[in-house]
Structures are given as structure tokens and as C-alpha cells.
Amino acid sequence: MKITRRLFLKDAGIAVASVGLAPALGPIFLRQAAFADEPQRLGRMAGGAKTLICIFQRGAVDGLSMVVPHGDPHYYEHRAVGPGGIAISNTGPAGLIDLDGLFGLHPSLAPLKPIYDAGHLAPIHACGSPNPTRSHFDAQDYMESGAPGEKAVRSGWLARTLSACPEDQARMRSLFRDVAMTSYVPRSLQGDPKALAIPDLRTFGLNGESAPRRRIDPALRADDGTTGGSVAQAFAAMYDQDSGDLLHGTGKEAFEAIRLVKKLNAAGYTPANGADYPRSGFGTALQQIAQLIKANVGLEVAFAEVGGWDTHVRQGGAQGTLSNRLKEFGQALAALYTDLGDRMSDVVILTMSEFGRTVRQNGNGGTDHGHATCFFALGGNVNGGKVLGQWPGLAPEQLNENRDLAVTTDFRDVFGEVAQRHLGVQDLGVVFPEYTTGPNRFRGVLKA
């Protein structure tokens, strides 16, 4: 394998390192630092820049429980309401929240209803991959590479999307252009050597450099000259060479990013508009994405993930395991939407999962691996207030392999539409070289 020149497109970062001693000036400072090489573009970055937030529900979420097809004549045939049943009743106080007579939101997703009513939320139902695999790991891989069935594709669809963004945008290479709130760079962003993985902004740094994040026995903190700048500089210097070894690239990025993240004061962040994030890793991840967006650091693609959807046993109905997971999920999405406020006009939040679950419940009150599921798109420019896609029906002959919701929307048509209409990618052939999508296949997720 050869290292491409993209590895070396880090000039912005080098410039950043040299301004590390400047006093903290809040977001303005950050903006200048992240775009130190192109100050003339700062004006543009203050507004109008588009951000895509991708959220992966790992473990295959049951789309039929998120957006319940209660109006389908067969739904309550496949699934039972009541103790041990996993169906959501369409009557009663614990029932689903009807959207249009055919579909209803799971009661735990109630915080999303006002967003739907405002026309800023669109579920895309019966969405998934044409590939029949029921392996979580293959299916996640395919969805994130954007190339179902093609194991040789090593780059992720988001990385290719960024590489295909319009020329003037492509040059605005912020250090924070694509950030995953994860420990490791997700598959979706592989291929962009500048993709940052930041598990938590508050602890992203060298111990001893910043305010200590945990109290350490003072006796252990004898000043032996090994804290602070010199160690950081030594680490930075060790990794500061473009040898083509990815270790060096990774290390260098780390130091470039630390300096900026420190100025963010993530621990002191207060969400706007009374947004109430759940106190969980996922809630924190979304809150920090909001913070990065508001700091105008040039974030174009953010990525977060949330697990716990592989509900083989005792999935529950209006209450129970899945309900609890959805509660956190819905609250977090609604908090992000609320927190970003007007900025949602420049933001699209897209949720996805590798596949859905069987239409019928299994022997343990759970569901096994299925096929199509449901995505959500949120944003000021989203064609919301209705359920998008084509409903394949739940009659036995309409099911995939007589067990799952059939896929009627190829996930790449959704990804492609967001890449083109939101991020401005003209040539979707770069994003999906083996698949042709375009306006005739788009599902109308975004206002054209």
C-alpha cells in the first residue's frame, strides 16, 4: 500500500501549534487557530457552514418498535401486546404516539414528537442494505464503507464524502473537520488520516498539563520536573515527522488537537435553551458535538455511536429493555436539537443501524437479526413531519425471507442525498463508485 499525499495535508495543524501560546480567547481564538492558514475564510465560517452528524445505533435496532406500523393490518398479528409481548399498543396512556394513522412513535421517543410536528424530523422507514448478511459485524462494515458486499473497500463513506466536497470547501481543512466522539476512528471515517477520535473533550489531553481531572495524592505529585510542557514537547517532537508511518501521523494530530480542545473548557459547558442531555456516554457525546459546532471550529462531519440494541431476549414493549434504550436515545436527540436551536438550519442529524430485527418475536420475548430498519433525519432543512420511504407491508408474503421487514430504501440513497443536498457533493460516484444514485432515487429527505 502507498501513502497518498492526503497524509501530508496537515499544514493547518503546524500553523496551529505555533499559536499555542496565545491567550485563550474563546471561540474566536479557536476559529482563528483552526483556520490559521486561511484567515480570509473566517467570515464564512461564522455561519452557513454545513454539518452532518451521523449516529450509529450499533447492534441492529428494531425499527418496527421505533416507528411502529400500527396501521398495518398484520402488525398485531406478528407481535402481541401485553406481558411478554413486544408490540406497542395504539391505545391507552402507555400507547404509541400516532403520526399519521399508519405509523406511530414509540412512547419512549415522545421528545421527538414536537420536532416531527415542527417538520424537522423525518423517519425513513424500511431502510437498509441490499446485502442479505445477518452478521452485525459485516453489516456494520458494509454500511460504514458504503459498499455492501465489497470487503476490499477500506475507506469509509464519510471519508470519501469529505474528499468529494466542493473544491473551496475542501481547502478549508480544519483540524476538526471530522470528529468522532469515540475511542477509535470509526469505519465510516477511515481513509481520512485527519479524522479525529475524541472519546471525551474533557479528558483529551496530557495529564499534568491541564487542570488535573482526578485528584491525586499530593505526595505522589512531587515536582520532579516531569510534568508539563517539556514532556508534551518531547512527545510531540517524537511524533513530529512525516515518515509515512501512521503512528507518527496519529501522534502529531493528537498534539495539534490538544491545544485547541483545552481552550474549549468542555467541563464548563452549559447547553442552551434548557436542553437536557441524558447523563450517559451517548448524551455527553452529543452535547460535545453541539459544543464543537457552536465553537465554529469548522466541524463538517461528526460521528457518535450508541449500543444496546441487540435485543434477543426480553425486548419488552412500551416498557422494558428496548424502551429504556429508546428513552435515552430520544432524549439525547431532542436535547441536541434543542441545544443547537437556530443552528439546526445548517445541521443534519442522521441516525442509522446495520439492519433491523425479525418481525415476529422469538422464543425469549426478543427478536433475532432481521433486514430493514428505520433511520431518522433531523434538521431545519429536512423534509420532516412525515414518514419517508415506501412501506413494503407486513403480510407474510411481503416479508423478506418470510421473517423480516423488506428493504425498500437502499441506505446509500439516503447517504447520497445527504452528501449531495446537504454537504454539496456533486459527484456521488466518488462516494459510491459501484452504485448509482441521484435525485431520481433520493427519498426527499431534504428540501431540494
Binding site: M1, I3, L7, G59, A80, V81, P83, G84, G85, A87, R134, H136, F137, A147, V153, S155, A159, Y184, V185, Q190, A197, I198, F204, G205, L206, N207, D217, D224, G225, T226, T227, V231, A234, A237, M238, Y239, D240, G244, D245, L246, L247, H248, T250, G251, E253, A257, I258, H312, R314, G316, G320, T321, N324, N362, G363, N364, D368, V430, P433, E434
Partner: protein
């Protein structure tokens, strides 16, 4: 797709670009370092000399026969971890007692809240003159003695599980065995965050993984298939036949001529008993209530008053069957279909957990007795526990399994892109020896491909490998914490579906004391025994590269060398003579040879020399060496 791959920015190269000149074969010193970095968790001081004396070949032969290596020193330390000897029954009992304690605590707290609410309403008096009404002493509810949430006792045992793994990796002389235990424990991944797995994993590591890593794959596979931890983790414990489908029912044997009446009576009794068993037994081990706090059990015999028919009890669960083939044996491309998954799941119905003893038990009443077809093999109707065992036979002897296991071992031991020639050889050994894992490993580690220059230092260390090799490089020892010390081994494991990592929960308890080595590994991205998905941690080491993770490594390197990691005693200054300290360059060179067994690259060396304080501080230099690009590789 080739065009696509070429057109895209290629992310990872395993190694710095090398010119077109064919690389020189490894010299003896490099071979020594190579075996210590791959078949051990890196060199300890003195290890290079020891391997040199013996020769790499004889050292390998010795490591392949761990029973011949005297390991009494570490074994005596290990003996202090007494929880690891608890029987399955005791482990399960402990877990269930914990559950009951939690429930009692919750009930108590709820009662108190109600009590308090009642008191508040009763004592609200008209606020006069801006004074807050004070509850009179008689209104104050009796404050209970115990208001803190009980700490699960099983956490103690789980802490010992972590400690044993770290202790053995750091100090055992049977290093290859420990490497392989780590490999197979990860291959048959379990997540101790999931309900009773936290109790069963202790028995699993001891009885399933450890005894079999150099044995036959078929034995290891069956041990895992019957491991209560695995049965619960992948839900097979609750998989049953479809009771509504008569074709799955226990066979009615043909009626012999003689004693027909007696037999019929007995059969009738048996069938009734079977039915009763199916109804009464909790076919779904109810440990799971703890998983997420959800109370939505499966419908019992009572009818669901839903919008349609009452729920069936029990039924097939495909989870184990799928992962057994995808992850444990054939590999995802190993040539099985969705139909095979369902058929294999049917074969394993009834494989579950015995309640009082916490051991494997086959429940005949839950088994599906119909005929099955698995990968083209007909499994005739009427079989019992042997159906599952036949599946294990088929899978363990399958060429796809031989390839999948061989390739994964090569990924761990050789390179992220192992040559096909080596995988072929290892797979051939696998098939020829009936899955003798010792023979397979021997084939791999004595091959020319293993000693190829392209394999040398080509792997990035996993966080666990990084932490352990750091301790070893410094000649550090892992001290088993004193279980009697306050908070000595206290770790809190996040409950069930919570996404909280074990570490962040544990950190609350350990805020006042040093970070433990297990926590440090978790912070670097590899919480032990806690990978949620059944894939386990990646063997392709390129996946361990990321900015955030690298920072965590720097922080660990600094903390470790300063003595801020609990349990670990290190003394970097003892790796240096006083005379070496007088000169920065000499000190850096001497320490890098002591810790890495080799010189640093010119760039790293210059970077360290230019930044270290005067006079040279071995703690500082050692921390920087642990954080260097060189030390990230093995």
C-alpha cells in the same frame, strides 16, 4: 473494486515505506527480540540474554511445553487470589445474593421515599413570619442504618480475575501460554457487564480457556459451548424447541409387543412430566432481571391480554448458533447459510444452565427432536444432547474452521497481513492433526514467514500488551492487592445495559487512590473481559491507532514511571548506572537498550535528548521511551 480501492486515500500502511531492495533476513538479535515481543509480552530485563543463551528455537520449544517451565514464583503470588477457586455454584450463589441485596436496597429506598413524602405532606404547616417549618422530632422517620448501595460481592472476585490476568502476563515464565490465554479468551469473547456472566466468566477462564489453549480445538469448542458464561452471554440458555410445533416434540418410540401396557403408562407419565417441566421450569434463567432492571419477563402461563393470541412460551434463539459459526469456527465467509443458523440453533435447544449448581445442563424437555440438516449433514430425528455435539464435530473438522482459526492466530502472532502461504500451512496442520492447537502454533512460530523481515515489529501493541510490556520493560512487578485493605480491590462494574465503562464506574471508588493497572488498560481502550459485542477486540492491530488512544498511552507511560499506578512497583533508576546519568545521550541510549532491547530511531532519540531535564532523570526518560513510536510496536 480494485479501481475503487486505488482511487481512495489508503489509510493504513503497516510499516514505514520500505524501498524496493529486498529486506535482509533477521539477525540473531532481532530474532530474539521478535520471539520476546510476539510469544511473550515483551522482554523483561535479562530476557534477551536468557533467550540468547538458549537460542530462539529451543526457547520456543520450551514455551510450547509450558508444563516443563518452573513457574512457582508467580504461582505462589497467584495463590493469594482465592476467589478464583470458587466453584461454579459458589460463584452463582454470590451473584444471586448480590441481586437480592440490590433488590432489598431498592425496596428499602423506595419505602423511605414514600415514608418521607408522607411525612412532608403531614408536616406542611402554614408558613408564618417567613419561617421554615421544622419537622418536630416525632415526625422524623427512623433513619435506617444502611443507606449506601451495597457493593456486589462478586466484584471482588472479578477484580481478582483482572489481577490474575495482569499478574501472569507481567510475571509468568510461561509467557506463550499467557499470550494464548489472552488470544482464546478474546476469541470466545464474553462481556462481564452482562448479568451473571460476571460470575460465570471466572469459571470460564479457569475451566474452559486455560486448560485448552495448547490442546485440541474440538475440546476447547465444546468446553465453551457448555460454559454457563457463554450459554448466557449468547442466549442459548433460553433457547427451546417450538412447543407449538409437534414435529419438534420428543419422539414416540414405536410400541414393542411385550410390556406394552407398562411402557405406555411410563411413557404417559414421562410425557406429562415433560410438559410439566416445560411449563414450570424457568426455561429462561431469570438472572437477567438484573440486566437492565426491566421487569418485563416473558409471558408466563398466564394469558397475555393483548390484541391477539396468547404468547407461546419459549422458542428458538439464533444468537449462539450464528456467532458459533461466524466468530468461533467457520468465519463469516465460511460457507453457511441462514438456514444453517436456524438448524444449528435447533440442535442446541436444551443446552442450558442448571440453577442450583451453575453448571451446564441439558434439558431434554426443551430440546427440538426433529430432523436437522447442518452444512449438508443430516442429523436424524430423535437425537438429544448429541445433536449439538455432532454440530461441534462438523464445525471443528471443517476446512473453513481450520483456515479461520489459523489466519486469526497468524494475525496475533505474525502480522496484520499474514502471507497466504503461512495460513495454508497452519490450516493444513490443523486438519492433519485433528485440530491440535499446539501443533498449529508450532507450525506458525517456527516458519520462515514468522521470522520474515516484513513481520518484524509490524504489529501495534494492543492496550493490554502495551501496559504489560511497559511493566515488563521496567522490570516491574505486579503486587496482588491486599484484599483486607480498605477499598483495596474495590471495583464497581456497571450494570447490564448501561454504557458506562467499568473503568469510569471504578474510578469513582478509586478517586482517592492510585489508578489500577486494569483501569489504565480500560482507559486506553480495552477494558478487560468487557467487550460488549461477541467479536472481541480486533486482532488487526491497525485498529488500535487513534489520536485519543495514543494520548491515553502517553498519560499511562508518565503515570507508570512515576509510580502512580497501583499494584506496580517500578524503579527506572535501577536500569541505569550512575555514570550513564551524567550524559543525556548516554542515559537515553542505555535506557532504550534496557527497555526495548534496541536503539531508538535517530529522530526519537534526538527528540528525547533535546527535551529532557538536567540532570538526566531516569523516570522522565523512561516515560518518554514508553511513549515513543518504537515502544508502540511489537
Amino acid at each position: 473494486m480494485g479501481a475503487l480501492a486505488a482511487a481512495l486515500p489508503v489509510f493504513l500502511s503497516g510499516h514505514a515505506a520500505v524501498g524496493s531492495v529486498p529486506p535482509k533476513p533477521l539477525n540473531n538479535d532481532q530474532q530474539i527480540l521478535h520471539v520476546l515481543n510476539r510469544l511473550a509480552f515483551g522482554p523483561r530485563p535479562g530476557d534477551v540474554e536468557a533467550v540468547r543463551r538458549l537460542g530462539p528455537d529451543r526457547w520456543i520449544a520450551q514455551q510450547l511445553a509450558p508444563e516443563t517451565i518452573d513457574d512457582s514464583a508467580v504461582q505462589s503470588k497467584l495463590a493469594r487470589l482465592t476467589d478464583l477457586n470458587l466453584s461454579s455454584e459458589a460463584l452463582m450463589q454470590t451473584f444471586q445474593n448480590d441481586q437480592m441485596a440490590q433488590k432489598a436496597f431498592q425496596a428499602q429506598r423506595k419505602a423511605e421515599k414514600q415514608n418521607q413524602a408522607a411525612v412532608t405532606t403531614n408536616t406542611v404547616a402554614p408558613v408564618a413570619n417567613g419561617q421554615t417549618p421544622q419537622p418536630s422530632p416525632s415526625n422524623v422517620p427512623n433513619m435506617p442504618m444502611q443507606m449506601t448501595r451495597p457493593v456486589p460481592v462478586i466484584i471482588e472476585a472479578l477484580g481478582e480475575l483482572d489481577d490474575a490476568k495482569l499478574l501472569l502476563a507481567c510475571e509468568s515464565k510461561r509467557q506463550l501460554q499467557e499470550v494464548l490465554v489472552d488470544f482464546w479468551s478474546n476469541h470466545f469473547n464474553l462481556d462481564v457487564k452482562k448479568g451473571p456472566v460476571r460470575a460465570f466468566k471466572i469459571a470460564d477462564e479457569r475451566d474452559v480457556i486455560r486448560p485448552h489453549v495448547l490442546g485440541r480445538f474440538r475440546d476447547l469448542l465444546e468446553a465453551s459451548a457448555k460454559s454457563p458464561a457463554m450459554l448466557f452471554y449468547l442466549d442459548n440458555a433460553s433457547s427451546t424447541r417450538n412447543y407449538d410445533d409437534p414435529s419438534t416434540a420428543p419422539p414416540r418410540p414405536y410400541r414393542p409387543q411385550r410390556f406394552q401396557g407398562v411402557r405406555n403408562r411410563l411413557l404417559g407419565f414421562r410425557n406429562r412430566f415433560t410438559r410439566l417441566q416445560a411449563q414450570n421450569q424457568s426455561f429462561n434463567p431469570t438472572f437477567g432481571a438484573a440486566q437492565d432492571g426491566s421487569q418485563t419477563g416473558i409471558a408466563g402461563p398466564q394469558a397475555a391480554n393483548g390484541q391477539n393470541k396468547a404468547k407461546r412460551r419459549g422458542g428458538l434463539n439464533e444468537n449462539y448458533a450464528r456467532e458459533l459459526m461466524e466468530l468461533h469456527t467457520l468465519g463469516v465467509d465460511g460457507g453457511y447459510t441462514q438456514k444453517d443458523v436456524q438448524e444449528v440453533a435447533r440442535c442446541f435447544t436444551g443446552w442450558s444452565i442448571d440453577r442450583p449448581t451453575g453448571t451446564f445442563r441439558f434439558y431434554p424437555a426443551r430440546h427440538d427432536y426433529g430432523e436437522k440438516m447442518v452444512l449438508g449433514h443430516r442429523i436424524p430425528a430423535g437425537g438429544g444432547i448429541e445433536d449439538g455435539e455432532t454440530v461441534l464435530d462438523i464445525l471443528a473438522a471443517h476446512p473453513s474452521t481450520a483456515r479461520f482459526i489459523s489466519r486469526k492466530l497468524c494475525l496475533r502472532l505474525v502480522s496484520d497481513t499474514p502471507p497466504a502461504s503461512l495460513v495454508d500451512k497452519a490450516a493444513h496442520t490443523f486438519l492433519a492433526t485433528g485440530g491440535d492447537l499446539r501443533a498449529v502454533v508450532r507450525t506458525i512460530v517456527t516458519s520462515p514467514e514468522f521470522f520474515a523481515p516484513t513481520a518484524y515489529r509490524a504489529k501495534i501493541k494492543s492496550p493490554f500488551e502495551y501496559a504489560v510490556s511497559s511493566v515488563r520493560a521496567l522490570g516491574g512487578t505486579f503486587d496482588v492487592p491486599d484484599p483486607n485493605a480498605p477499598l483495596g480491590r474495590l471495583r464497581l462494574v456497571a450494570d447490564g445495559a448501561s454504557s458506562t465503562s467499568r473503568n469510569s464506574a471504578g474510578a469513582r471508588y478509586n478517586r482517592r487512590i492510585k489508578t489500577s493497572l486494569a483501569q489504565a488498560v480500560a482507559v486506553m481502550g480495552q477494558p478487560l473481559y468487557s467487550h460488549e459485542a461477541p467479536t472481541g477486540y480486533p486482532e488487526d492491530s491497525r485498529e488500535w491507532l487513534s489520536t485519543g488512544a495514543l494520548l491515553a498511552r502517553f498519560n499511562f507511560a508518565t503515570a507508570l514511571t512515576k509510580g502512580q499506578v497501583a499494584e506496580v512497583q517500578v524503579a527506572p533508576e535501577e536500569l541505569l548506572s550512575d555514570s550513564a546519568l551524567s550524559d543525556h545521550t548516554a542515559a537515553v541510549d542505555a535506557l532504550s537498550r534496557a527497555m526495548l532491547g534496541m536503539d531508538l530511531s535517530a529522530n526519537t532519540r534526538a527528540a528525547i535528548v533535546s527535551q529532557i531535564s538536567t540532570p538526566a532523570n531516569p523516570i522522565q526518560i523512561a516515560g518518554l521511551i514508553l511513549g515513543s513510536p518504537e515502544f508502540q510496536r511489537r
